[in-house]
């Protein structure tokens, strides 16, 4: 499985454009006795492993139609087929934002033409070697396509290298993106994948035709959206700058939840209830809160804000005590809103300013409340979808969704924990240290089991939690401990002088932490945080053990139990390994690039 990116004998290091291939081989592979021995030994190991891997992939009983037939299952699990347009719309929304963000932040991978040529040559040689090592049971189409891919990319690679003899012309990200999209489109429209489907439990296969146009057309549209929105993002980024980036950042926080709970889940709003209860509550908190915030966000109003905030905080806590003893009824979301409002009022003096700042604070609050209440209402409303197997999310969508939201939810928790662990307040420090060390000492699977089994026991009567939500809570609690350690590393790298300077300027503790310390600490810990994100993404596979239908569960138990593909485990498992690999590898590569960029920025 390690040989996915193998390029056993491809030239590299930019040496190929000055020296001839023969010279290169002599210098790099056979310069001395030990070098020759290494070359022979490692080539033998590489070819042997590749052969073994291919033997597993194309063994006599391996049936790859089990994967191609079940692609939809692997991607979206049991999402109803007549509602599938929702999936496409969600994908379009997310990809649109992704394209805009890539453009707005001017991401440049620094991919040179020379590297493209070398990669193409490597791919070509790799496909040809693979073709030679294929076991006898491999289907003929695979053989043919490996030869076609090998020859085409070899020729393309040589041509590209000829076209740029110095090999240092940098390709823009737009070009790379368009190239990838075009390749993908060509594969989609030209390669005869064969169209498979399970109709009423019976396998219907029409080999030789291309992918169904119900899949092909949306993908084409999506790819066009990505390329176009990247372009638009660059242009808009020049015109709008910071406000566009702020809007996009806000989208990445709430957008996915919106996509999952509003677009994918399609809540059946009870409009009478919405008009009579939900909208008035949202309006009360939004407008009333905005007025209060506008008033207290003025520079001289610190004392007032603190007094009001403390009172609100006490009231918010009292609401829960009252709920425990059943003194007076109150909607849960009102309690939560009061708590959030109290915290915001307490924090607002740190960001006080002139009239426009106050207007921004108030406006931001209104927007946040609207989105928050809409989401809460949507989450608490029954879905209109008719789903045969209960979790409406599954497959790849579940893997990505859980990974994304665990990261997002555990981030603030982790930051708080790391601040507590590095603070001078002994009780906070001891509590946070205990939490972090205990959680880091036990395996994730026990935490997930604990939450999925024990959380329902801990809850009071009448309060329930879905299996997936319990698992999500457990995973967040677990991930926060690791997140805290990563952020702590960043916090420790902030020099004492920064704290002292902030104190000398007369900043309060909140201001010092949020405006001076955290920005520097987080920038340092970004590479570690991305590493943590990769770990979270990979370990979502553990959800399969506690009952979620993620990629692994589908490949390991759903597909092998279908009557047409009894016992077909290996193709599915190899396929999902490839999916995990592609995502985790590209994340780690981009994190390395980010690290290099941050180092450059610091050096300057």
């Amino acid at each position: 499985m390690s040989d996915v990116t193998m390029t056993p004998t491809s030239p590299s290091n930019g040496a190929s454009n000055r020296t001839s291939p023969l010279q290169w081989v002599r210098v790099n592979l056979f310069s001395s006795v030990s070098n020759t021995i290494q070359t022979i030994v490692f080539t033998a190991i590489t070819l042997g492993l590749l052969r073994a891997l291919l033997g597993q992939a194309f063994s006599e009983e391996a049936d790859w139609t089990s994967v191609s037939t079940n692609l939809r299952l692997l991607m979206i699990y049991n999402y109803p087929a007549d509602q599938i347009i929702r999936i496409w719309v969600s994908a379009a929304v997310v990809l649109l934002a992704a394209g805009l963000s890539l453009g707005a932040w001017k991401v440049e991978p620094g991919y040179t033409v020379g590297r493209l040529g070398r990669h193409l040559v490597g791919l070509g040689l790799f496909s040809l070697v693979t073709r030679l090592l294929l076991p006898v049971h491999a289907p003929d189409t695979v053989r043919t396509w490996l030869i076609i891919i090998g020859v085409v990319s070899l020729v393309a690679g040589v041509v590209v290298q000829r076209g740029d003899p110095d090999g240092d012309r940098v390709m823009g990200f737009g070009t790379v993106l368009s190239g990838v999209a075009l390749t993908f489109l060509a594969v989609l429209w030209l390669v005869p994948f064969g169209q498979y489907g399970l109709v009423d439990g019976v396998l219907v296969a029409e080999s030789g035709t291309t992918v169904a146009s119900s899949t092909k057309v949306p993908w084409t549209v999506l790819l066009i959206i990505v390329v176009a929105s990247h372009r638009v993002g660059i242009i808009l980024g020049r015109a709008l700058g910071r406000s566009l980036r702020a809007a996009l950042a806000a989208f990445w926080v709430v957008g996915p939840a919106f996509v999952i709970f509003v677009i994918l889940r399609d809540p059946a709003f009870d409009w009478a209830h919405v008009w009579s209860t939900d909208i008035p509550i949202a309006a009360m908190f939004g407008l009333g809160g905005a007025a209060v915030l506008y008033f207290v966000a003025a520079p001289g109003k610190t004392e007032v804000a603190r007094a009001v905030g403390a009172m609100l905080f006490a009231f918010a806590l009292f609401n829960w005590v009252a709920a425990f003893f059943g003194w007076y009824p109150m909607l849960q979301k009102v309690r939560i809103s009061f708590l959030i409002f109290a915290i915001v009022v307490l924090l607002v003096p740190a960001f006080a300013g002139d009239r426009s700042t106050r207007r921004r604070v108030a406006g931001g609050w209104v927007a946040a409340m609207v989105v928050f209440h809409w989401l809460l209402t949507a989450i608490n409303t029954e879905s209109t979808l008719v789903i045969t197997a209960p979790p409406f999310l599954g497959g790849f969508v579940l893997t990505v969704g859980i990974a994304y939201y665990v990261m997002l939810a555990s981030f603030p928790l982790g930051v708080l924990l790391s601040l507590a662990r590095t603070s001078k307040l002994p009780i906070f420090r001891v509590m946070s240290t205990g939490y972090i060390e205990v959680i880091r000492g036990v395996p994730l699977i026990t935490v997930l089991f604990f939450f999925s089994i024990m959380l329902p026991l801990f809850l009071p009567k009448g309060m329930g939690i879905s299996d997936l939500a319990a698992v999500f809570a457990g995973y967040t609690v677990f991930s926060a401990a690791y997140m805290a350690e990563n952020v702590r590393g960043g916090l420790q790298s902030v020099r004492r002088g920064q704290y002292e300077a902030a104190d000398a300027l007369g900043l309060t503790t909140v201001q010092r932490t949020s405006l001076i310390v955290l920005p520097q600490a987080l920038r340092v810990s970004i590479p570690n945080l991305v590493g943590q994100a990769i770990a979270v993404f990979k370990e979502t596979s553990l959800i399969a053990i506690v009952g979620g239908f993620d990629l692994l569960r589908i490949a390991n138990s759903t597909i092998p139990n279908q009557p047409d593909f009894l016992g077909q485990k290996r193709p599915g498992l190899l396929f999902i390994s490839l999916v995990y690999f592609v995502f985790a590898y590209s994340m780690s590569k981009s994190s390395q690039r980010l690290e290099a960029r941050l180092k450059d920025a610091q050096a300057r």
């Binding site: 499985m1 990116t5 205990v438 604990f450 026991l457 995990y580």
Partner: protein, 515 residues
């Protein structure tokens, strides 16, 4: 923070702030409030859990540990109820723990070996070696370990059926659906005589070594100490192999010790244990105070230091109390087991035991199954093999990165300086580069060892009877979820603590080398 603000208030002679504006007071209030809040939430949750458990009439406690398990284990030191030893719940959990530790220990050894090899070959100047190892690392660490384990299980499960002539080498190495079986080397009767004789020889070799080293330091030159040590060791091993029966005289001596140990009165042992505890605490505190002492006198002790000293006194008092009142059986247990130990050791040297120190055995098959007990081959079941292979390959990729990073962290000036001193490349690597690289490698390596130990819990996905899987079977049977989870937590935390304390000890040793 609180100190600065209050001292500045005194300095400027302003009036002391009122209580609700005093930063120190406010900070303590906030902390206490949060602590109370957390405690209240916990109290609330536990109360809810108790009512919910009571509603289902599930008792809270650990009494069930002595109940019979009534289930079978997949593999381990005991899998079923036997007449000699019944399989209780606690015994089943213990078997699970041993399985976990077994796989963790083996995984640590093999992934370190593999990881070091790959990490070094990633630094090789050879193109193929470098590319192979980077593909190895990137490929293995970017695929979830659980997927790899399950893939291994699928691959092993698709192997051929188990017959006597299965294998790459029939009769010796057998790879089949049932697992992987290899010949095993085990300790035979003569081993203890052999080991005792070797101990004597090793003392001699160490003395010779020291002598050689002294002469080399005095006269200079290269006396090839390593080579001589090796040759002497091989020669003495050969001699010990041949004449090991002469050590049989140790048997009666150990027998005499057994009798003497058994005759110790219980009161004397209690007294001895108490003295050890008290002396231990006093020594620790003196050492601790010494470490705080500088030429200028004793440094100011922080709250933390006081807490540590008070805590150690507390531990000592508890230990004395346990020995005298809490658990009087402890001292008689020590007496009995000590005398048993010498008795067993004496039996190992009994007369007529002069055979080979080591023996080997090929895998045995009866009725198409491996025989797992007695002097037979070493068998890994498919479950064991899949989790072992998955963990070893996955972790070795991370260890390779750790090793590579550690070696790269040694500045190139170090090896250049070693070359300038005239050291060979091997000497430079062994004496200059590796010791420094180790210092960088050790902490992240310890982290990887912790990860292996925790990842053994994934055995539950393939049905390997490690602690989490056994625990799940237990709580599915008797609903004692909370108790089982507390056992998980204690077990894993003690594993983590012991691994990290070993790593920290090694780290401290390495750090002393620096000075």
């Amino acid at each position: 923070m609180s100190q600065t603000s209050s001292s500045s208030a005194i300095h400027y002679g302003t009036t002391k702030p009122p209580l609700w504006r005093n930063v120190a007071v406010l900070k303590w209030c906030a902390q206490l409030a949060v602590l109370l809040g957390v405690l209240a939430v916990f109290w609330f949750l536990i109360a809810e859990a108790r009512t919910n458990l009571a509603a289902k009439s599930i008792p809270v406690g650990y009494d069930w540990l002595d109940n019979p398990a009534n289930f079978q284990l997949g593999e381990g030191i005991q899998t079923v109820d036997t007449p000699e030893r019944s399989l209780t719940m606690s015994r089943a959990l213990w078997v699970g723990m041993v399985n976990t530790l077994r796989i963790a220990a083996l995984g640590i050894i093999f992934s370190t070996l593999l990881g070091v090899l790959v990490g070094i070959s990633r630094l090789s100047k050879n193109f193929v070696a470098q590319r192979f190892s980077s593909a190895y690392v990137e490929g293995l660490r970017n695929i979830p370990v659980l997927v790899q384990i399950i893939l291994w299980l699928a691959i092993l499960g698709s192997l051929g059926k188990l017959t006597p002539d299965t294998g790459p080498i029939p009769g010796w190495v057998i790879v089949s659906q049932k697992g992987i079986s290899l010949p095993r080397v085990f300790l035979a009767d003569g081993f203890y005589q052999f080991a005792a004789l070797m101990l004597v020889f090793v003392v001699g070799i160490v003395a010779v070594r020291r002598q050689l080293k002294r002469r080399q330091d005095r006269d200079g030159g290269d006396l090839r100490i390593g080579l001589w040590t090796f040759v002497l060791f091989v020669i003495s091993a050969a001699i010990a192999w041949l004449i090991n029966p002469i050590m049989a005289f140790l048997g009666p001596i150990f027998g005499a010790i057994e009798d003497a140990w058994g005759a110790v009165p219980q009161g004397a042992m209690q007294l001895l244990l108490c003295v050890i505890a008290v002396v231990g605490v006093i020594t620790w505190i003196r050492k601790f105070l010494d470490s705080k002492r500088s030429p200028a006198g004793l440094a100011k002790l922080t709250d933390d230091d006081w807490f540590r000293m008070i805590f150690s006194v507390f531990v000592g008092v508890v230990a004395v109390f346990v020995v005298v009142r809490g658990w009087p059986g402890l001292s008689s247990w020590i007496i009995n087991s000590g005398s048993d130990f010498w008795g067993v050791l004496g039996d190992k040297f009994g007369d007529g035991r002069g055979a080979k120190p080591l023996d080997a055995m090929r895998p045995t098959l009866t009725e198409g199954r491996f025989v797992n007990f007695g002097d037979t081959g070493l068998t890994l079941t498919v479950f064991y093999a899949s989790i072992f292979l998955g963990l070893v390959f996955y972790t070795s990729a991370f260890i390779a990165e750790v090793v590579r990073g550690g070696i790269l962290a040694v500045p190139s000036g170090q090896s250049e300086a070693a070359a300038a001193l005239g050291l060979t490349r091997a000497q430079a690597l062994r004496k200059v580069v590796l010791p420094q690289a180790f210092r960088v490698i050790m902490p992240p390596l310890g982290n990887q060892y912790l990860n292996i130990t925790k990842n053994t819990s994934l055995g539950i996905a393939v049905g390997f009877s490690e602690i989490v899987q056994v625990g799940q079977t237990v709580y599915n049977k008797n609903s004692q979820t909370l108790a089982v989870f507390s056992i998980y937590m204690i077990f894993y935390l003690s594993c983590s603590l012991s691994i990290s304390s070993v790593v920290n000890t090694i780290n401290r040793r390495l750090a002393i080398v620096e000075r």
